[in-house]
């Protein structure tokens, strides 16, 4: 009998089928799988006692109160601290990877000084402090020679810095730009004192004008928690949210209604609403009510507003009516990306709150009292918030103000994160001695002459006072949850030591002592603060506000039209102005924002046609101070003649997780001066496209 092809195939098939029914092949596959996965370079897990400890994370623009889980003393995962009012148990997308950030390749592992060719050499803390003291003693007592910028708007650390500046004879101590600056200037012009806060928790109708509450406005995590409580899953909604802004961002998409309004036109929108309220008989007892009414009724009529910002009179009238009929309405205005808005946006929105009778009311706008200063010679928080760092740097850039001899940057990255970034970086480059007190090798640290790393916020004592936007004054604090990994030293300790060497008595010897004193003066219990509780104070400022009609009259200009407006936005998963893209966050970035090294900006189909670009087109965006390269994504959630562009990309320092990815949109922001207040503003930035 011969073997033909058919018999052969039968035999082979029989063999294969037979082998399928024997366990041998599966067992050996199983063994092979286990054996082949037993690779020595895959790390083994560490086991040990699991502990939980409260802390604060200060990576984003607003602090977040967390519980850190550690195994055998090493933090590995965090959860929100539900006991704490400051962030009400939420976690932001940077803090969620806070334990991993302890080991970020971007961490500076000890003090360093710049040597030749932009290289750095590790030095001891003694040497670093000696260098700093020498430079500072050379400029002590001379106005304009020392400037300080802090990226921490809530910490008592900024009090220490401002008191130190004062002791050195310098009035140039600033905060990095943020919405609180516009609010402080607005409040000053309205004759109020304290800090503007919003009682979101008790409001049943919230209108956000520009302010991207879910990403960059105010205390983002707390806003998200309040939003969540007001919209219980499976139950009736307790509050209505309306968002007026240039594109369908997270706040717009989670609101009940989105009203497209171009960036930088928030004040016109507010005053357009005021027209309808005044028309319906709303009033307020303010000294300049009559002036305000005349201004609004003559310059912000429905037809003029429609012509300027494209919102139909019916939409405005309907919204004004909704606000007036809500039982606890609240209007909140701010920039779409948490910085650069003018004071007039806030003044105009405050005017609405005044017409609605919502200032000082439950669920309305509040004037929160500053907690007492811990350091006597410090500048008040209100004063510090209102100072204009962008204006100062712009003046240095244009030689209107002489560059300081020494610039100290604390938890701040101005070389990367300032508007019109290249111009501002050039101004910083004029400073002969730049010191970075950053945890990370950021763009500012990599230009600094001396780097004195502050520990990661899980490794240090720190606190946070009344983040901008919250409805009551509050204080939280933290103690280290882990042993320091690197050779960092708390900046407060460094400054206190250097100050005492220079004969400046700030009244304390250690960071812990300052923070404890702050808690004590505020009436809080330090131990419970570091245990995770927040101290809440309901004290508010009294006194009535005026409309600042004369400022409004000067500062609100109708847009020319016909230009392409830039609508930058900030999302915490991409990092913040102080932290670049954290390692674990790379995968969370949308494919419509970054692909490979290409940044994507978003425009709608009509604008794309007008600009003659299509999906994926590579474009060059040019602003007053610089250029950016990006690709186009067509997104119908962007209004006509607007380009929505994400901030947080285009880092040149940091690590492989963030460096060289996309471009830095801050470069194409245009810094202007707000008429009436003189503050630097950059929400109205226009770009040309090639």
């Amino acid at each position: 009998m011969g073997i033909d092809r058919r018999t052969f195939i039968q035999l082979v098939t029989g063999g294969v089928v037979g082998s399928l029914f024997t366990p041998v092949i599966w067992k050996s596959l199983d063994d092979a799988a286990i054996w082949s996965q037993n690779w020595p370079w895959i790390p083994r897990l560490k086991y040990g006692q699991i502990t939980e400890q409260a802390t604060l994370s200060k990576f984003g623009p607003s602090p977040c109160s967390l519980t850190v889980k550690s195994v055998g003393g090493s933090p590995y995962v965090v959860k929100g601290n539900v006991e704490n009012e400051m962030s009400k148990g939420g976690v932001d997308a940077i803090s969620a990877g806070g334990a991993q950030l302890l080991y970020s390749p971007s961490r500076v592992n000890g003090p360093m000084k710049k040597v030749a060719d932009g290289k750095y050499e590790s030095i001891s803390w003694e040497e670093a402090e000696k260098m700093l003291s020498e430079k500072l003693s050379a400029v002590k007592g001379q106005a304009g020679k020392l400037a300080i910028v802090s990226g921490d708007a809530t910490g008592t650390s900024s009090e220490v810095l401002s008191a130190f500046a004062a002791g050195m004879g310098s009035s140039d101590c600033y905060l990095m730009p943020g919405d609180e600056q516009a609010a402080a200037v607005a409040l000053d012009n309205m004759g109020g004192s304290g800090q503007i806060g919003y009682d979101l928790d008790n409001s049943d109708f919230v209108l956000f004008i520009g302010a991207d509450a879910m990403n960059s406005w105010g205390s983002v995590v707390r806003n998200q928690r309040v939003y969540s409580e007001m919209r219980p899953t499976g139950e009736d909604l307790k509050s209505v949210y309306v968002y007026a802004g240039p594109f369908l961002n997270s706040t717009a998409s989670s609101s009940d209604k989105w009203i497209p309004v171009a960036p930088g036109t928030g004040a016109i929108f507010s005053l357009g609403l005021a027209y309808h309220m005044l028309n319906s008989g709303s009033s307020a007892s303010a000294s300049d009510f009559a002036d305000f009414k005349t201004l609004v009724m003559s310059r912000f009529t429905p037809d003029k507003v429609e012509k300027a910002i494209g919102v139909a009179p019916g939409v405005m009238a309907g919204l004004a009516k909704q606000l007036m009929s809500a039982s606890a309405p609240l209007v909140i205005s701010g920039s779409e990306f948490g910085q650069g808005a003018g004071a007039v946006d806030i003044i105009a929105a405050t005017a609405l709150n005044m017409l609605l009778g919502r200032v000082g009311e439950k669920g309305g706008m509040k004037l929160l009292a500053d907690l007492p200063l811990a350091v006597d010679s410090a500048v008040s928080r209100t004063e510090l918030s209102s100072r204009d760092f962008a204006g100062y740097l712009a003046a240095v850039a244009s030689d209107k103000v002489k560059a300081p001899e020494v610039l100290l940057a604390y938890e701040a990255n101005p070389v990367y994160a300032m508007p019109q970034a290249d111009t501002m970086a050039a101004a910083i480059a004029k400073v002969p001695f730049l010191v970075s007190f950053s945890t990370w090798m950021d763009e500012t640290a990599s230009k600094a002459d001396l780097i004195m790393p502050n520990p990661h916020s899980f490794e240090r004592f720190d606190d946070a006072q009344t983040p901008y936007g919250v409805g009551v004054a509050m204080l939280s604090a933290c103690a280290p949850v882990t042993e320091p990994i690197y050779n960092g030293k708390s900046t407060i300790d460094v400054v206190l030591g250097v100050a005492s060497g220079l004969g400046i008595d700030l009244g304390y010897e250690s960071a812990e002592a300052v923070l404890q004193a702050k808690a004590e003066k505020a009436g809080a219990d330090w131990d419970s603060l570091v245990g995770g509780a927040a101290f809440v104070s309901d004290s508010t400022e009294s006194g009535s506000l005026k409309f600042a009609a004369s400022v409004l009259s000067k500062a609100v200009a109708m847009p020319k039209g016909g230009e392409i407006a830039l609508a930058p936005y900030a999302k915490l998963n991409v990092g913040s102005s102080t932290v670049a893209i954290p390692p674990l966050n790379c995968v969370t970035i949308s494919k419509f924002e970054l692909q490979g090294k290409d940044l994507f900006v978003q425009i709608n189909g009509v604008t794309a046609k007008k600009l003659n670009v299509s999906e994926g087109s590579k474009v060059k965006l040019t602003g007053t101070g610089g250029e950016c390269v990006a690709r186009v994504h067509i997104n119908e959630g962007v209004m006509n003649d607007v380009i929505a562009a994400p901030l947080g990309f285009g880092h040149t320092a940091w690590d492989v997780f963030s460096r060289g990815k996309g471009d830095n949109i801050s470069k194409i922001l245009t810094v202007g001066t707000e008429p009436g207040t003189g503050m630097a503003v950059w929400t109205s930035s226009f770009v040309s496209i090639a």
Partner: protein, 252 residues
């Protein structure tokens, strides 16, 4: 495939209307489950994200456009497509509670399960997991590290179920009747908008028991009949319609 019924059915309910797409859940999932950071997170075909937040829209032009965010973990299907196709029985659904398990040392990386899963909930490890130097100290003790070449997926942070059961035993309670809130996956714990609810949908004392009966509750691709243990809730018609590839001619 025959469906096994358990007394407990661990169920996740995600309120799409509350999700703001912030990404905290995804980061928390990476940290809890020892997913190594990836330099290029934009290569969505090769990145590992057990939980992925999708951006949805209503397909209309400006100014009618609406958008929403939809987090997608493994659905822990009642009749999982991934289980019967696995030649080495690396994935099964046989434990009380109905979580579909994945045994990494047994996986041979054939990826049949990935092809079978209509939810794209399974991920192949294309690269060696590499933690930047020192970051291995922040590894979670709850999930073993996996080499490349293995298929991974969400398991509702199963180790947290084991922890909750251990706690129940220690407190002399029935480990198979955990009180609501004792067992919480990491994504839920991180979510700032409280968009995620979790519990035993067969236990009337758990919130999800009622939530899955909400008039706005739905599951993804329900018509495939895989009986997912993840439910979504949205008031918006277009969101619910997209969940089942609804075509304009289809009736509700």
């Amino acid at each position: 495939m025959q469906q096994i019924e358990f007394d407990t059915k661990w169920t996740m309910v995600i309120d799409v209307d509350k999700c703001t797409g912030c990404g905290a859940c995804m980061v928390s999932c990476q940290a809890e489950n020892n997913i190594a950071p990836m330099e290029d997170g934009s290569n969505k075909l090769k990145t590992l994200t057990w939980l992925l937040v999708y951006e949805l829209n209503n397909g209309k032009d400006f100014p009618e456009r609406e958008s929403a965010y939809l987090p997608r973990p493994c659905m822990q299907c009642g009749k999982p497509a991934c289980v019967p196709v696995c030649p080495v029985v690396a994935t099964t659904k046989d434990e009380e509670g109905g979580i579909v398990s994945q045994i990494y040392p047994r996986c041979i990386g054939c990826r049949y399960c990935m092809a079978a899963c209509p939810y794209h909930a399974r991920y192949f490890g294309w690269f060696d997991p590499i933690w930047p130097e020192g970051m291995e100290k922040a590894l979670s003790p709850s999930t073993s590290t996996r080499p490349r070449g293995v298929v991974e997926k969400c398991n509702f942070c199963h180790s947290r179920l084991l922890d909750a059961r251990a706690r129940a035993r220690a407190e002399d309670m029935d480990p198979n009747k955990l009180p609501d809130g004792w067992y919480k996956p990491a994504c839920l714990e991180a979510c700032p908008t409280g968009a995620i609810s979790f519990g035993d949908s067969k236990n009337p004392e758990h919130k999800v028991h009622d939530l899955i009966k909400d008039k706005n509750a739905f599951r993804l691709l329900e018509s495939l009949g895989m009986d997912p243990q993840v439910y979504y809730i949205s008031r918006r018609d277009w969101v619910r319609e997209q969940s089942d590839n609804h075509l304009p001619k289809d009736k509700h």
